[in-house]
């Protein structure tokens, strides 16, 4: 049973989280140190799992042919690595940040549990297991959303829950039919082989439903509205992981369903692909525009997530290699960037209490490190070289152009580029008024508001990561090519 060791990273944080929930009297310092330790060990364990690619574990069978089954593959490892790294950094950031919130223990407990569930999601080897963890994640992340306990947060939390469950049922609908017509539900690169003869339309509708269903988590139109309500009300480190990581599970779900169950050939050239592409592009444009008009910083970032995740969705919908590479690069790039941006927003809120964009005049003079990171992350998100955003955008656009799908091969890149322009429009003004407050700015009132090192260091690492993904994208691209090679 040595194979079962791959499940330690799934079990460890869940157990640690549960223990944390039970321990009534716990010194804050000890709690923080142990949370950090768990996160660090978790990261190491996932790194160790790199060496165990291909290992599979069958725990038990729900009914005949429905095993709970895990397998470590290249794709899963990639997502898992991103998750543990970001979870660790946002976790360290939260120690200082959560000082001004109540119920730190509850927060940290659920924070750990979600991570365990997420790792389980990454290593899930078939659709049943995946679906189980997917639902579990929805529920365990719920306390993070409603943490502040304000009415606004609770309402947003309920909205999150309704949308997520609704989306999951969409997926479930498809799941039943896939179960009926597919040979198995084990994720197989290139598709499991579906006996579609005679039921093509039905199964295509199922595929579309599953895309829309997983698209809920990924914030894809039409069921994206929960995202912009739920992300801004959570505490900043929670928003960071919600926006940077949890939305990516929708992406993972879509990849698993389309690339590992149905197979790309099944939906290539069908109405499903067209609808998918249209929805993704619509979301890209809509998200950016709404972010451009939004006045609250965190909400602006949430809208930005809506748009950015649909970049990935668009890349996946094109069903070709370049676009797939672009999508996965964008997963990494956006994970680092959006997490960093939310943490920077959190640092601003923590230190100054300012939540509106207009209030941030001269902020760069007060907290230079934070705003420098914010600026570099913004540049990354816009996709200005030499940062990571350009690489993923380059591959996505190349994929679109090469796909040769009428209209979309030009429309796609144009919309992505217009959206990049809007991204510049909603992020750069913050930097500009932060660093260039105008010649009538009163420098005598200036005070240093740079937050503690536990806040700035994760931010700096995230910034370096975001830029590093761009500068040294070659090894990452060749890694993604190994995933592609299995299809």
């Amino acid at each position: 049973m040595t194979e079962a060791f791959i499940l330690i990273p799934v079990v460890l944080p869940v157990v640690a989280g549960l223990i944390l929930e039970i321990m009534r009297k716990l010194n804050k310092k000890i709690m923080n140190i142990s949370v950090a330790a768990v996160l660090a060990i978790e990261a190491v364990l996932v790194f160790i799992n790199i060496g165990k690619i291909g290992t599979e574990v069958k725990l038990f069978e729900l009914t005949a042919n429905l095993p709970i089954y895990f397998k470590v593959d290249n794709l899963g490892i990639m997502f898992a690595l991103l998750m543990v790294i970001i979870w660790l950094l946002a976790g360290i950031f939260s120690f200082e940040y959560m000082k001004h919130e109540d119920n730190e223990r509850r927060y940290q407990g659920f924070y750990l549990m979600v991570l365990g569930v997420l790792i389980g999601l990454d290593f899930a080897g078939n659709l049943v297991t995946f679906y189980m963890f997917y639902e579990m994640m929805t529920l365990t992340a719920f306390p993070l959303v409603i943490h502040t306990g304000k009415k606004e947060a609770t309402m947003a939390g309920l909205k999150y829950l309704y949308y997520s469950l609704g989306g999951a049922y969409f997926a479930l609908f498809g799941f039943y039919f896939v179960f009926k017509y597919a040979d198995s539900l084990t994720f197989t690169a290139g598709g499991v082989g579906i006996n579609a003869a005679g039921h093509e339309t039905l199964l295509l509708v199922c595929a579309l439903f599953m895309i829309i269903g997983f698209g809920v988590k990924a914030g894809m139109f039409p069921l994206h509205a929960w995202l912009t309500s739920a992300h801004p009300v959570a505490p900043a480190p929670a928003s960071a992981v919600l926006s940077g990581i949890i939305v990516k599970t929708g992406i993972l779900g879509t990849i698993r369903v389309i690339y590992y169950i149905f197979g790309t050939e099944f939906i290539r050239g069908t109405f499903v692909q067209t609808v998918w592409m249209s929805l993704a592009l619509l979301t890209v444009l809509m998200g950016s525009t709404m972010a451009f008009k939004e006045k609250l910083l965190k909400k602006r970032l949430a809208y930005s997530t809506v748009s950015q995740i649909s970049y990935i969705m668009f890349g996946l919908s094109l069903l070709n290699e370049n676009a797939f590479e672009g999508s996965l690069l964008h997963v990494l790039m956006h994970g680092f960037t959006k997490c960093g941006l939310f943490l920077a927003a959190g640092a601003i809120i923590y230190k100054t209490g300012k939540t509106k964009v207009d209030e941030l005049r001269g902020i760069g003079k007060e907290m230079p490190i934070v705003i420098w990171c914010f600026t570099l992350l913004s540049i990354t998100l816009i996709g200005i070289p030499p940062t990571g955003g350009l690489v993923s955008k380059w591959y996505l656009c190349m994929g679109a152009l090469k796909s040769g799908i009428a209209v979309f091969d030009i429309l796609g890149p144009v919309i992505l580029i217009v959206s990049a322009l809007l991204t510049a429009g909603y992020l750069l003004p913050i930097t500009i008024q932060g660093f260039f407050p105008g010649d009538d700015y009163d420098y005598t009132k200036l005070e240093n508001k740079e937050p503690a090192k536990t806040m700035t260091i994760p931010l700096i690492i995230l910034t370096a990561g975001a830029i590093g993904v761009g500068l040294f994208s070659t090894p990452i691209i060749s890694y993604i090519e190994t995933i592609l090679a299995t299809f």
């Binding site: 139109f221 039409p222 069921l223 994206h224 509205a225 912009t228 619509l282 444009l285 809509m286 998200g287 525009t289 709404m290 451009f292 008009k293 540049i379 816009i382 996709g383 200005i384 070289p385 030499p386 940062t387 990571g388 350009l390 690489v391 955008k393 380059w394 591959y395 656009c397 190349m398 152009l401 090469k402 890149p413 144009v414 580029i417 990049a420 322009l421 510049a424 750069l428 500009i432 260039f436 407050p437 105008g438 010649d439 700015y441 761009g470 500068l471 040294f472 994208s473 070659t474 691209i477």
Partner: protein, 684 residues
């Protein structure tokens, strides 16, 4: 490996951090370090320049692993050596000049940081051998130079910087689109390979679209009409050394790209050549026209830059149109670029001297500043006469070459003779005249006329020292170059052209141009005559009032940016917003609508004493209707609510009776049936 090429890019970028760190401790050491860095870069560039100038070196390249998924490919050849030398020379002069000049500003550390970053990025652009690499450094240069414009942080400065940034970002993204399309069509972005690949694709619509995107991306930086809007706004508010670099060097970064597009991708494509020719002509004429009208020293120079870029674009278009015979055009364009860089360096720094002392640039205030300042007069005159293309100054050489190329094009194709080209030639000469006119206007204002306010004039005359010795020598030296180059064109300029021309695909040029032959002088003299006429006919009589104040009759409303681009962007944003809002709220609104209508919570929270919900609702509705028509409310007993409920109950009772009687009937029927069956079975 020629990794030392990377030094040109990395050393300034790394030194920027060092200089910034030092600046927090000591300002003096920082200034020295900044100048030393630029000097080092200049000397290194000059080494390569000399190598190629004397033919001792041959081109070499450096390929590195991809960055950002784009090829990282640098190259050193004659053209690149020439241009990095000029760039680093300008940076050296401007950094040295800034030591004295920048005392008037806050946040100087920031200024040095970004000046050095941009130097690294600019070097990267000029050394790049792959459009992907060019793009990376081009964007870096665009963004880092934003800080130069915003440096003052005054309202105008921030607004101009906003414009600059918008043009830079939009231009960059449009270019990205173009590069993507080009890469998709040709499969390569290598500058040296493009000509070969694109030759077979002549007339391809997709290639044209890609080329257009790339062209406008670069043209926005170069300042071509109608995307020149940032120049006249940004230059007056930026610190003078930064303006000099913006105008002299960053516009050339744009021209570099335009050159690649025109002389590699669309080499010999007549349609493309005509397109560039039209853009160039409008830019040239419009810029010169605005410069004549302007009453602000730096704005004049900025408009002049726009106009000069137009001249260069005409040269570029001639390269395209002349195809294999484009030797004159290639050499003319190249020298024009070199000249313009150096002229604008000197001219903007002269403006810097004025601003440094007076903090003003308005003609009516600075008038008379330079009356007794001989060295400044000399410096200005050398550059002004040079840019106006007066014989024996360096500008004359390049202008003559471009003009000759136009004449050659007209002679070359008499069959397809187009009257339009004659018009372009006349506009070329008139714009040359206008250049002379606005330069004279500036000269007369600053160095000849007396200020209307005598006390101010006395103060101006008594200003000493108005610039320090180092800057005097630096500027005077730079200005003297123009005379040397102008007097001995065959000795220096021809060799510079020889070393740079291969970049545009020209390998050999045997003939010797007799610059001072009568034919060549004619064009220049025509221009000068135009200039004199414009100066006396327009500037003195229309733009200058009787009392000596200058006016700008150009209506402020006629501003492309304020009355077209900004409103356009606003309208687009509003349309996008409405569109997005609808989609964003679609589901939320649907949910709300459903909850307000079909899924509404029951409006009758109490138990009904009589009837059911349907009778209650219909009854209420009828009651309401009746009340509306009759105007009085019925008592409960008479209301529809009650009557309907009664009817319902009656019907209910009825149905009970009916069902019961029916069931009785059924029971008896069944019993009867049973008896029948028993009887049949039993008594058979």
């Amino acid at each position: 490996m020629n990794t030392h090429l990377l030094g040109f890019i990395l050393i300034p970028i790394i030194m920027a951090f060092v200089v910034y760190a030092i600046g927090r401790k000591s300002k003096e050491i920082r200034n020295v370090m900044a100048v030393a860095t630029t000097l080092a870069v200049f000397l290194a560039s000059f080494y390569f320049f000399a190598g190629f100038f004397f033919g001792k070196m041959s081109p070499f390249e450096l390929r590195l692993p991809d960055i950002c998924g784009l090829k990282f490919h640098l190259m050193m050849d004659g053209f690149r050596a020439l241009y990095i030398t000029i760039a680093s020379f300008m940076w050296l002069v401007c950094t040295a000049f800034a030591v004295e000049y920048n005392r008037i500003y806050h946040n100087r550390n920031r200024y040095y940081l970004f000046i050095l970053w941009t130097l690294g990025a600019t070097m990267g652009v000029f050394l790049s051998a792959d459009l992907g690499t060019t793009f990376i450094f081009f964007e870096m240069a665009s963004l880092t130079s934003y800080v130069w414009v915003a440096q003052q942080e005054s309202k105008e400065a921030l607004r101009a910087a906003e414009t600059y940034l918008a043009v830079a970002v939009i231009g960059g993204l449009v270019m990205l689109m173009g590069l993507l399309m080009l890469n998709n069509i040709t499969g390569t972005l290598e500058i040296d390979e493009l000509r070969g690949v694109c030759e077979g694709l002549m007339g391809d619509k997709k290639l044209l679209a890609a080329g257009m995107c790339i062209f406008w991306g670069f043209a926005a930086k170069a300042g071509a009409f109608p995307v020149h809007i940032w120049l006249p706004k940004a230059h007056p508010v930026a610190p003078a050394p930064a303006s000099a670099l913006l105008s002299g060097m960053l516009t050339k970064v744009g021209v570099f790209g335009v050159l690649v597009v025109s002389s590699q991708i669309f080499f010999g494509d007549a349609t493309w050549g005509k397109f560039v020719l039209i853009v160039g002509t409008i830019t040239m004429f419009l810029g010169a026209f605005l410069a004549v009208l302007s009453t602000d020293m730096k704005r004049t120079l900025a408009c002049s830059s726009v106009s000069q870029i137009g001249f260069i674009l005409i040269g570029v278009s001639m390269q395209c149109l002349l195809g294999e015979e484009n030797a004159l055009a290639v050499r003319g364009t190249l020298l024009y670029m070199v000249n313009h860089s150096l002229f604008k360096l000197v001219l903007f720094l002269v403006a810097g001297v004025v601003f440094m002392n007076l903090h003003k640039l308005d003609f009516n205030i600075i008038k008379g500043f330079g009356r007794n300042k001989k060295i400044l007069k000399y410096i200005y005159l050398c550059a002004a006469l040079g840019i106006a293309g007066v014989p024996f100054f360096s500008g004359y050489v390049s202008k003559t070459l471009v003009h000759e190329a136009m004449v050659e094009y007209m002679n070359l194709s008499p069959a397809s003779y187009n009257p339009g080209i004659k018009l372009v030639e006349w506009l070329f000469l008139i714009s040359g005249g206008m250049t002379l006119a606005y330069m004279t206007k500036l000269y007369v204002v600053v160095f000849v006329e007396k200020n209307a306010d005598e006390a101010l004039q006395a103060k101006y005359d008594g200003m000493k020292p108005y610039m320090n010795m180092g800057n005097r020598i630096l500027l005077a030296f730079s200005a003297t170059i123009f005379v040397v180059l102008g007097v001995l064109p065959n000795w220096l300029f021809d060799r510079v052209a020889d070393m740079g021309q291969s970049f545009m695909g020209l390998t050999e040029f045997e003939e010797t141009v007799h610059y001072f032959s009568w034919e060549n002088l004619q064009g220049s003299l025509t221009s000068i005559i135009f200039g004199v006429c414009i100066y006396f006919g327009v500037v003195r009589s229309v733009l200058r009032k009787k009392d000596g104040t200058y006016i700008n009759p150009w209506p402020a409303k006629l501003d492309l940016e304020d009355s077209f681009y900004r409103p356009l962007l606003k309208v687009v944003a509003i349309i996008l917003e409405i569109f997005s809002k609808i989609f964003d709220k679609l589901v939320d609104w649907t949910v709300i609508l459903l909850r307000k209508s079909l899924l509404k919570e029951s409006p009758i929270p109490f138990e009904l004493t009589e009837g059911n919900a349907l009778t209650y609702k219909v009854g209420s509705l009828l009651d309401g209707l009746k009340a509306m028509f009759t105007g009085e409310e019925e008592k409960y007993e008479g209301s529809f609510k009650h009557r309907l409920a009664m009817m319902y109950e009656k019907a209910d009772e009825m149905s009970v009776i009916v069902t019961r009687s029916l069931s009785f009937g059924l029971i008896f029927f069944c019993l009867g049936l049973v008896f029948t069956i028993v009887y049949m079975l039993w008594f058979r």
